[in-house]
C-alpha cells in the first residue's frame, strides 16, 4: 500500500525484511548490553563504594593541585585517610560537609575562599638583561642567570603559569601574567610553577593588591623598571586603618584590617597597587565591611 502521495515512492511493507531487521536490532542490542554488563561485572575493580560518592562531590576539575592524580586519585586518598580535605581549594563548603559525613571525619574550619594574583606588573616596562632565544617557558629561562629581566623577581611573561592553569585563567600580555579573577579557582598550580614565586593568594573579597614584590631600594628600581614600587611608603601613611606595612621595601596588605577604602590605590605614585577585580564601574562606592574572624593564617 503506497501510503504517501508520491506514487513511485515507497513499496508494500515487506514483513519478512521487517522481521529480519527487528531480529538483527534486538540481537545486537542484547549482545552489546550483555557484554557491557558481563564485562563490567567481570572487570569489577574492587573499589570502596564510598570513593565514587566522594569523587562525585569533589569539584572534578582534575587540576592536581592536591598532589594526587586527578579527583579520583584524591578521592581514593581521602577514603584511605592519607589526604585531608583542605588540600583541595576547589570544593565548596556544602560539598566538603557532605564528604566529611561520608568519611565520618569531623568537618572543621570554613576556609575563606581565595583567588591568586600576580605580584608584578613590570613586564615590557622592565628592562631586559639579555634577549632570550631559547626553548620553553619561564622555568627554563629562569635557569639562565635568573631570567632575562633586569629585576631579579620580575615576571618574564613566558607563560609557565599559563600552561599550569587548568582553568585557562592566566594570560600573558604586555610582558607579564594576568590572572582572570572570575576564572581562577585558587587551585595553587600556578603558585607552585612560577619560578619567581610572584603569584600570591588574596581573599576573594579583597579589592586591591600590590603588583610588585621587589625588595630593592627606590633608586635601583627606578633604573630597572618603570612600573616597580620605589618603597616611598605613601601607601603606608595614607591607609586609615593601618592595613599596609612596608616589610623590607615591599608593601604588605593585611586584609583583615583592610576596609577597601581604595585610598592607597590613589596615593601610590607608581600605580603598583591595582584592583583585584578589574571593574571600572563602582570605583567609588566600596561599602563598609566589618572585619571577619581571623581564621586561617595567610
Amino acid at each position: 500500500m503506497n501510503l504517501l502521495l508520491f506514487a513511485e515512492i515507497g513499496r508494500d511493507i515487506e514483513w519478512v525484511t521487517l522481521g529480519i531487521a527487528l531480529a538483527i536490532m534486538v540481537g545486537i542490542g542484547l549482545l552489546m548490553a550483555l557484554c557491557i554488563i558481563l564485562i563490567s561485572r567481570f572487570c569489577q575493580v574492587k573499589e570502596d563504594p564510598r570513593i565514587k560518592e566522594v569523587e562525585q562531590r569533589l569539584a572534578g576539575a582534575n587540576c592536581g593541585a592536591c598532589g594526587h592524580p586527578g579527583c579520583s586519585g584524591f578521592a581514593k586518598a581521602l577514603v584511605e585517610g592519607t589526604a585531608t580535605l583542605d588540600s583541595c581549594g576547589q570544593t565548596n563548603k556544602e560539598a566538603q560537609i557532605e564528604i566529611s559525613n561520608i568519611l565520618g571525619i569531623a568537618y572543621d574550619g570554613n576556609a575563606e575562599p581565595t583567588i591568586a594574583v600576580v605580584a608584578c606588573s613590570g613586564g615590557s616596562q622592565c628592562e631586559d638583561k639579555y634577549a632570550y632565544q631559547g626553548y620553553g617557558t619561564c622555568v627554563s629561562q629562569n635557569m639562565l642567570a635568573g631570567g632575562r629581566k633586569a629585576c631579579e623577581v620580575g615576571c618574564m611573561g613566558s607563560g609557565s603559569c599559563v600552561d599550569a592553569c587548568p582553568y585557562m585563567a592566566i594570560e600573558c600580555f604586555d610582558g607579564y601574567a594576568h590572572i582572570d579573577p572570575e576564572l581562577c579557582r585558587s587551585c595553587g598550580l600556578c603558585i607552585q610553577t612560577c619560578p619567581k614565586r610572584l603569584i600570591k593568594r588574596v581573599p576573594k573579597s579583597a579589592t586591591v593588591y600590590v603588583a610588585c614584590s621587589t625588595e630593592c631600594r627606590g633608586k635601583d628600581v627606578m633604573s630597572k623598571c618603570k612600573a616597580g614600587c620605589i618603597a616611598c611608603g605613601k601607601c603606608e601613611r595614607t591607609c586609615p586603618s593601618g592595613a599596609i606595612h612596608l616589610v623590607n621595601n615591599v608593601p604588605i596588605i593585611d586584609y583583615s584590617k583592610c576596609t577597601h577604602c581604595g585610598k592607597c590605590l590613589e596615593a601610590c605614585p607608581r600605580h603598583c597597587i591595582k584592583h583585584v577585580h578589574p571593574v571600572d564601574t563602582h570605583e567609588k562606592t566600596i561599602t563598609k565591611v566589618e572585619p571577619e574572624k581571623e581564621s586561617k593564617a595567610e
Binding site: 504517501l4 515507497g10 542490542g29 548490553a33 554488563i37 573579597s205 564601574t281 563602582h282 562606592t285 561599602t287
Partner: protein
Amino acid sequence: MKKERFNQIALDGLVRQNPTLRLVLGTCPTLAVTISAINSFGMGMAVLFVLVCSNVIISLLRNVIPDRVRIPCFIVIIATFVTIVSMFMEAFLPSLFESLGVWLALIVVNCIVLGRAESFASHNPVGESALDGLFMGLGFTLSVTLIAIVRELLGSASFFGMELWDPSKFSIKFFTSNAGAFLTYGLFIAIFNVCYNAVDRKLKHKHAQQTLAPVTVAETKEAE
C-alpha cells in the same frame, strides 16, 4: 514555562552558547559542507530536526534509562532519527541528499547532538529540551549558512547557487579549498567573539549602572 526561561534558552542557543561559534562543536560538518550555501542550509535543517526530536525523546525517557547503558541508548535514539532524515531526504530531496552524501550520516556523531542530549535533555523537562534543541539547531544553521555564504561568494562567485558574476573574472579558489575552510571558520569565531564581548560589556555596564546601590549590598551579602 516562564517567559524569562524561554528568553534564556533562546539566547543561549542562538548567541550565548552558539554551538558553532561559541562552543566550537560540530566542526566536522561546518568545515566540510560550507562550500555551498544550499548544502549548509539543508544540513542545518537536518541537524535541527534530529536535535529537536532526539531531545524530546531523551527527556521523555530520562528517568527510565539506567546510567550504565546511558550512552548506547542515547546514540541509538539519535541514530534512528538521523536514518529517518536521510531516508526522507533520499525520497523527496534527492539533489540535496546527493550533495550532502556522507555528511548526513555523520550527524549521529555530531558533538552538538549528543552534547545537548547529555548535558541538557537528560536533566530537563520535555518542553525546555525541545526548545533548547530548536534554538541550538537554529544557531547551528545560522552560523553554518553564514560561513557558507561568505565562502561561496568569495570562492565560486555565487550566492545560494545563483551566479552573480563570472568566476573566471574574480574568484579566490582558496576559499573552496580545505585550507580556506579552516581560515574562514577561524576568522568567523574571532569576529563573533569581538561582537559578543562588545555587546556583553555594554550590557554589563548598563546592568551595573541601573541597579548600582542594591546590587553591591546584595553582592557582599552573597560573598559572606
